[in-house]
Amino acid sequence: MNLIKLLDTICPDTKSAEDRDRFYSRRDAFRQFGDFGKKVALAAVPLSILNSIPHVAKADTASLIGVLNYALTLEHLEYRYYQMGLDSGVIEAPDRVIFQKIRDHELAHVRFLQEVIGNVLNGTPVAEPGFDFTAGGNFTPFSDYPTFLALSQAFEDTGVRAYKGQAANVKESDVVLTAALSIHSVEARHASMVRRLRTKKGLDTVKGWITNGSIGSLPAATTAIYAGEENLSHGGVNVANLTGIDAAAVSEGWDEPLDMNQVLGIASLFLAN
């Protein structure tokens, strides 16, 4: 993650020459700081430097903050879900290593997004919402392991589609786009692992990749999460027709996006009233 490049994509939205000077001098100071190592961990960045950047309320920046806060909301959901799962004891002992790793990634994503939103873009990171993972008493993920796994799969596959759907909305910032892509593929790795774990346990027949728009043995409430995944056409090319490869396999080879409203519709099932 190259914060220098990120700062370069942001312009101070201020008419004050003093503010502008301060912004650029801070950016230069930051640039020097960055010379010590290309991969500066965000946690290691002195907040005094970042906090001094003036308002960056440019339309682009406001839009980036909006997208990243949306991502942060989803990461809050995922992190809280895995933390509660690990705390509850519902996860079978040999599988804990898997969910500890996933939990660690989701927590890292939460902190990373908070840092970028709050201290790089000078926005306000959204607070963690209250969650109801029973979805109004319909699920018991923290006392029933198959349910825990089912919702985990649902969240990860949703996360993949959510990030994919925002790629175009952050493409004006190379660094934010690259960071989003780098989270996106981690979510896809999680999804693949959880899907295959469910099948290994005889709970489903799903593979690591999504076949057609199938929900497998997940509850019907997850239909919206997989709707559209059966798509075979990309850029106007029907790949099944082009190649003669069966539609199921072609559908598996491309994951599909969801837009913000679709994802928030899914996530809202798990928000506490």
Binding site: M1, A188, R189, S192, D246, E252
Partner: protein, 240 residues
């Protein structure tokens, strides 16, 4: 900067000596060869034909701009598709478990579909078929096949993640995004076959403390791929 990214693969990736020669060759080719207008499918409207450099025999040039990035992806998908085509003909596959047969069979189809998609999307701008070299892989050995599959899948993810920022077209960015997450699904599955039930599916070797997967640039990716590709790939005109 661009000149430093020139092209000699294998062990001579960065070789300032070769630059002058290459520039001359390019000019020569530009004068002596008529470039072919792009007629790819739908997504690629117009491109800078003037900048397209015809390849020398035994060498391919990825080209410029979005077409260059698509050719880059096409090259990687060619490599992956060729690999799995060999896998399913080999004795590891013949004797593999049902689960591993399903996975390898799926991956062969997915990568072939990706390859054919890019070829069609690029139309006349597509690079030719790469000559691959899998002599370092033992297709009768599970360890060797899975190790190579892990290399290819992880490399593919890092390549797409690194290249996304250079795409101008939002439509192409979305398509790349649709493919990269499937490559990541593959990578996680292969890693789990190698070390089942562990955290390796998303290991610390490829994911940093911010939870971000590694990205690799063109030079890193093509250097890694060069072990398996005989064809010389000129990526000097890719965006930077």
């Amino acid at each position: 900067m661009i000149n430093l990214k020139h092209t000699k693969m294998k062990n001579e990736l960065i070789k300032p000596q070769g630059l002058v020669k290459n520039a001359n060759r390019r000019q020569f080719l530009r004068m002596g060869t008529m470039t072919v207008a792009g007629a790819g499918l739908l997504l690629i409207g117009c491109n800078n034909d003037d900048d397209m450099v015809p390849a020398m025999p035994g060498m391919v040039s990825l080209g410029t701009g979005d077409i260059g990035i698509l050719n880059y992806a096409y090259a990687l998908e060619q490599l992956e598709a060729a690999f799995y085509a060999e896998v399913i003909k080999g004795s590891y596959f013949a004797n593999a478990s049902a689960e591993e047969k399903t996975i390898m069979g799926d991956l062969e189809k997915h990568e072939r579909a990706h390859r054919e998609f890019f070829k069609a999307a690029l139309g006349t701008n597509a690079i030719g078929a790469l000559e691959v070299d899998f002599s370092s892989i033992d297709f009768s050995s599970r360890t060797s096949v899975l190790g190579a599959a892990k290399t290819f899948e992880d490399l593919g993810v890092a390549a797409y993640n690194g290249a996304g920022q250079f795409l101008e077209s939002a439509d192409l960015l979305l398509i790349a995004g649709k493919i990269v997450s499937v490559e990541a699904r593959h990578a996680a599955a292969i890693r789990d076959l190698i070390n089942p039930g562990s955290a390796d599916f998303a290991g610390d070797d490829i994911i940093d403390s911010n939870g971000l997967e590694r990205t690799l640039n063109f030079t890193q990716v093509l250097t890694a791929a060069s072990t398996y590709v005989k064809t010389e790939i000129d990526f000097s005109q890719l965006p930077s």
